[in-house]
Amino acid sequence: MSFKFLQRPSFLHNVSCLGFTNCPRVYQFMNYGRFPPSFVEPVYHPDKFNKLNSEEVKELMHKNVKPPTTSQSASVFHDPHLEKLVNFVMKSGRKAKAREIIKEAFEKIKRAQVRKYHLANDSAKLKIPTNPLEIFHQALQNCKPVLTVTPVKRGGVVYKVPVALDDTKATRMAYKWLVETSREHEPRRNHTGVFFSDRLAKELMDASDNTGKTIKKKVELHKLCEANKAYAHYRWGK
């Protein structure tokens, strides 16, 4: 894959030295903080671009556009949710490695499920989910919490007050939990040959089936909210 190539610091250095005052409108791999608010987000995927109407295109033509990031690809197989997961799995900026690990996990899901599929008889085949991407999306959907608790101080006591979550925050928590639970492992001295990718694969499979550690976490949070619903009105007022 060419991603490794693109992440070479020397290559990055050359590009960032170009400066953006005299450049054409599209820059590569620059620090996003440099762009003033007049710059708009890029429409990087052909599918999205084809959906734009002519007026929107006209408007975009006269605007400065930020360059696409390394995670924004025009590939047919590009999936923004998956790219987000890559960011959660990534440690110390090693994006290529994180991507590799997630691909491994998907492959492991597929190996297990496809073999089951081929061994099953025709009627049972329909019930076996085999598409790892679908399994991942389902797992993400199932892991999203509806409520969470926030600390509110009243009369010197800190109460856990249940609050509703918006979709962005809920999705963020789902990603975080999925990766967190997959990182839990036995002490290294008892290494059983089960790697992060194995645990992630298992966690995704479980979560898509509404079982497993991540779902348990979500249920426990919901229970906590239920227990503290008496304090819900502390959310407002003083």
Binding site: V76, F77, K103, E104, K110, L133
Partner: protein
């Protein structure tokens, strides 16, 4: 009149378009044309199953499971190796690891019929077996199908009644030998007893049906230890059995066994097919062992000698199919070329010369499409994007016709 001309033009234009649409490359990639094509091209299926209802096969498959009958019409199509034959010939190795894992997932073993195999098959059919053994050398970049072609050749040899002398991967004993011990019969050299015994088991499994049928007996008596003797005229299974049981002498047994095979072939008892994958590994200067971390010069490995011996051309009724591989090279990550002259080196070249080089090329468009169709059928590719023409074009471009690369690309899809 004008109308007629126009009509004629339209017709000819129409025919032209149809002709364009019906090129095999297009047909293989078009989803709608699949059932029509299967009946169109694969005539021999319907003839084979006249009594049973005609089975509609997809155009990327062929019903012909015997490599002896493979021909140009099956190019780029997948044939399935029957499970019992797979268990006989590939039980102890012979299929590349990545592919072997896939067969487990797909619950079938299907290989694409490709040009290098047909080339070898045609040559083997035309060979005059009274002449010295002909050597074929497969070469090509990593992942383009050398080992798969060899697996196909092994299946062909098995079905055509050849005695198989098959080494799945030379470096399994030249680089990663399980165990080494000093040789007793050849002072100053080293044995790889476990690997030699394992190879004997492989040989026995592949040729059991022939050994039972043939009157293949030892030509002279062999003395290994003070109480370990094999008499002259004993069945050859006894020699193999002894080698498997007494791993200490397995290397010597392999050498004697292959000498017997050579002389029996010379006398016309049977025809022999020698298939060695990663042959240039025999000429690499080091033999590293896993446990002792020692580097040993290759002339001192006794198991290399019989395979060098049998790849000579001083015998007849035999055919030798070898492959040279970058991975089997001394320095696999820095191998500069995949060509035989570079990989074999001076010594290897002089050993093999003259041979017939066979290039294993990358997939052409039709073959890539066939592989994609097969993967979609077996659910190795499930991404809806891969069903569309743009997705397929992306995969085709990304893999660059390399089968292994395509397999890896499709792994997370």
């Amino acid at each position: 009149m004008a109308l007629r001309i126009l009509h004629g033009e339209f017709l000819s234009h129409h025919v032209g378009v149809m002709h364009h649409l019906l090129t095999p490359e297009r047909l293989l990639s078009s989803v709608a044309a699949r059932p029509a094509l299967s009946t169109l091209i694969d005539g021999n299926i319907s003839s084979a199953n006249e009594t049973s209802p005609p089975k509609i096969l997809s155009p990327f498959r062929t019903g012909e499971s015997d490599p002896q009958n493979h021909s140009e019409s099956q190019l780029g199509r997948h044939y399935t190796i029957p499970e019992d034959i797979k268990q006989t010939i590939f039980k102890h190795g012979g299929l590349p690891k990545k592919f072997d894992e896939l067969t487990h997932v797909f619950t079938e073993t299907s290989i694409m019929v490709r040009k290098p195999f047909l080339e070898i098959k045609d040559y083997v059919k035309k060979i005059d077996f009274n002449r010295p053994a002909v050597r074929f050398v497969l070469y090509g970049e990593t992942g383009q199908g050398k080992s798969m072609t060899l697996a196909h050749v092994v299946h062909y040899g098995f079905n055509a009644g050849f005695l198989l002398v098959h080494v799945p991967w030379v470096n399994s004993f030249m680089r990663k030998s399980k165990d080494i011990s000093p040789s007793e019969s050849k002072p100053g050299m080293l044995d790889v007893p476990i690997n030699a015994a394992a190879w004997l088991v492989h040989f026995r499994a592949q040729n059991q049906h022939l050994l039972q049928k043939l009157d293949f007996k030892t030509s002279k008596s062999y003395q290994y230890g003070p109480r370990d003797t094999i008499d002259a005229g004993a069945p050859i299974e006894e020699l193999i059995e002894f080698g498997v049981g007494r791993a200490k002498y397995a290397c010597d047994v392999v050498e004697d066994l292959l000498r017997e095979v050579k002389s029996a072939s010379n006398s016309g008892l049977f025809k022999t097919m020698v298939v060695i994958d990663g042959f240039n590994g025999l000429f690499s200067p080091f033999m590293k062992t896993l446990r002792m971390k020692k580097k040993v010069i290759h002339q001192r490995c006794t198991l290399a000698l019989p395979f060098l011996e049998i790849s000579r051309f001083d015998w007849c009724n035999g055919v030798v199919v070898l492959s040279v591989d970058k991975h089997a090279h001394t320095d696999p990550f820095n191998a500069e070329s995949a060509l035989p002259l570079y990989l074999l080196g001076k010594e290897g070249w002089e050993h093999l010369d003259p041979f017939i080089p066979i290039n294993v090329e990358e997939y052409n468009t039709a073959e890539t499409n066939s592989a994609l169709d097969y993967y979609i059928d077996r659910r190795w590719i499930q991404h809806p994007g891969a069903q569309s023409e743009s997705g397929r074009a992306e995969l085709r471009a990304m893999c660059g016709g390399n089968g292994l690369e395509l397999l890896k690309l499709c792994a997370p899809l």
